[in-house]
């Protein structure tokens, strides 16, 4: 979908004054399939020549059919995969993981089970060189408060529900103040009610200037994308970008928002054509 939607032009204008945080240029990711019986051995070309920019404070929601390479794209940005092309953060090329890009995985067993909630959050901060105990406590308390988990400092992850674990994972990411937070369907495994609550919280946090976040958020859910994203991208098989535009629906988005139905239908069509 190359023609600009009604919201695109306006969106690009007011986003253009923000600096580019992430620049993906000519990204190509080919998985080796020589070990897979039946494959042609030419490699599974998951992403071919993808270019993408994410600006400061963008909340980019990526939609796409299963298997189109969304997770792969995020893992390349995170530095967890080898790839061809260039990925730059604030102009500096990155090929390996680092605390400037923090990943929130889909699997909610991503916290270290041997550390308490508080220590899980503080660990990355310690590794970044913060030694002062008071400072560490202040930072982790603040992050926990933001995700509504004050009082759970001393809990071990196995004592939390799935939704709470994802909140801690988000708090951990926030506390590190990365340039960009990479979220791969973080709410996909949660029930509808918890998912809704967490969406609202994430929306609030992402709009909070104190946290000053830039987020890429993968989802299968069109509604989630429209509610959360400031920008929306639809990926096709082969990693082609079908849609990449400013979210035209004004916040706060509800199904009753003006233009919601039409936009939902447009994304739905783009997804299913893809």
């Amino acid at each position: 979908m190359d023609e600009a939607g009604p919201g695109t032009a306006a969106g690009d204008v007011d986003a253009a004054d923000k600096p580019v945080v992430l620049e993906v240029s000519h990204l190509t990711k080919i998985f080796d399939d020589s070990q897979i019986p039946g494959a042609d051995g030419m490699g599974n070309r998951v992403i071919v020549d993808l270019s993408l920019q994410v600006r400061k404070n963008d909340f980019l929601c990526i939609l796409g059919p299963s298997g189109c390479g969304k997770t792969t794209l995020l893992r390349c940005i995170g530095g967890f995969e080898n790839f061809e092309g260039k990925i730059r953060i604030n102009g500096i090329e990155r090929r390996t993981p680092g605390t400037d890009r923090i990943m929130v995985f889909q699997d909610y067993n991503q916290l270290f089970p041997w550390k308490t909630v508080e220590k899980n959050i503080q660990y990355g901060l310690k590794l970044k060189g913060i030694r002062d105990k008071e400072e560490l406590r202040r930072l982790s308390d603040h992050a926990l408060e933001t995700v509504g988990l004050s009082g759970y400092q001393k809990y071990y992850p196995h004592q939390l529900s799935g939704g709470m674990k994802q909140r801690v994972a988000i708090a951990k990411a926030l506390a590190l103040k990365p340039e960009i937070i990479l979220m791969d369907e973080p709410f996909a495994a949660l029930d509808a009610i918890t998912r809704n609550t967490l969406q609202q919280e994430l929306l609030r946090i992402s709009a909070d200037q104190d946290w000053d976040c830039t987020i890429i958020f993968i989802t299968h859910n069109i509604q989630e994308a429209i509610v959360l994203g400031t920008r929306i991208m639809v990926m096709e098989k082969g990693g082609t970008i079908a849609v990449n535009e400013k979210n035209p629906i004004r916040r706060p988005v509800t199904p009753a928002s003006e233009g919601y139905g039409a936009y939902w239908n447009k994304l739905h069509a783009a997804l299913y054509r893809a």
Binding site: G79, P97, R101, Q110, W114, Y156, P157
Partner: protein, 272 residues
């Protein structure tokens, strides 16, 4: 809901205690009935006799040396061997994570040497190094290092990819990643390795002392042998009880608390 007594912990303990009492009663009846005629007093000394021998072991001992000293000697060698063995197991397993070549060679060594009972190796070691307490330490190291390495290596291999990636995301690399993620992630395996390693080391130690008891450094194994040659069977049984008690103390006083403080506390599934 209140659990019935049959399902309670106290019931479990009661069953175990009752079983031990039953065994003791049967033993005592067998002893008193002189089932083995002439030799009954030797084969089946009464519980009173064993109890008295237990005390005698520590007060009089053998040739002026009490069993406490023998035990201390054994524990000293054991502890040294365990520390060296566990340390080496971690060091080599860690190196295996860094170098593929080393990993191949070390895995082969673990497979080969794990099959070799320490006592079988002992004559060779003695031929080379002579009869010294160090030989027993060597044997303890041998008993603990291979099962421990197997567990640690398996634990590293089973470390969930998501923890490793989360660690890398925080900037961990090399040794930092090894100690920050792989080691705690392998906790369940390490604990089970400790249990197996300890049991092997303890048995290996006693066996080595019995076969090659060293008079210059007398241990529990040697003591049992001395009791046997002196036909002091009650003392012999009493020493077996000492060996069991030490095993229980280590199991319940050291290993179980370690497990409770790590794997259980963190809600990690225990490794088989």
């Amino acid at each position: 809901m209140k659990k019935s007594f049959r399902e309670s912990k106290s019931c479990d303990i009661l069953v175990k205690v009752l079983f031990l009492v039953l065994v003791a009663i049967i033993w005592e009846i067998t002893a008193k009935a002189h089932v083995f005629g002439e030799r009954s007093e030797i084969v089946f000394p009464t519980i009173e006799a064993i109890g008295a021998a237990f005390v005698r072991n520590f007060t009089k001992g053998y040739a002026g040396t009490g069993l406490a000293l023998y035990t201390l000697n054994s524990m000293n060698l054991l502890l040294r061997g365990l520390l060296i063995g566990i340390g080496l197991a971690f060091a080599f397993s860690g190196l295996s994570m860094i170098s593929r070549t080393f990993s191949n060679v070390y895995n082969l060594c673990v497979t080969i040497f794990d099959l070799l009972p320490g006592v079988a190796l002992l004559p060779v070691v003695i031929v080379i190094f002579g009869v010294k307490p160090g030989v027993i330490v060597f044997l303890v190291v041998h008993s603990v290092i291979w099962p421990m390495s197997r567990s640690v290596l398996d634990g590293f291999k089973a470390a969930p990819k998501i923890y490793v990636e989360a660690g890398k995301n925080l900037g961990l690399n090399g040794p930092g990643l090894l100690f920050g993620v792989y080691v705690p992630a392998a906790a369940a395996y390490i604990v089970s390795g400790l249990k197996v390693g300890w049991a092997r080391a303890w048995r290996g130690l006693i066996a080595a002392e019995m076969v090659f008891g060293i008079a210059s450094c007398p241990g529990i194994g040697l003591y049992i042998n001395q009791m046997r040659t002196n036909m002091k069977n009650a003392e012999m049984y009493a020493t077996l009880i000492v060996i069991i008690i030490i095993g229980l103390v280590v199991q319940y006083g050291i290993l179980n608390p370690i497990e409770k403080m790590t794997v259980r506390r963190w809600g990690m599934v225990s490794a088989a």
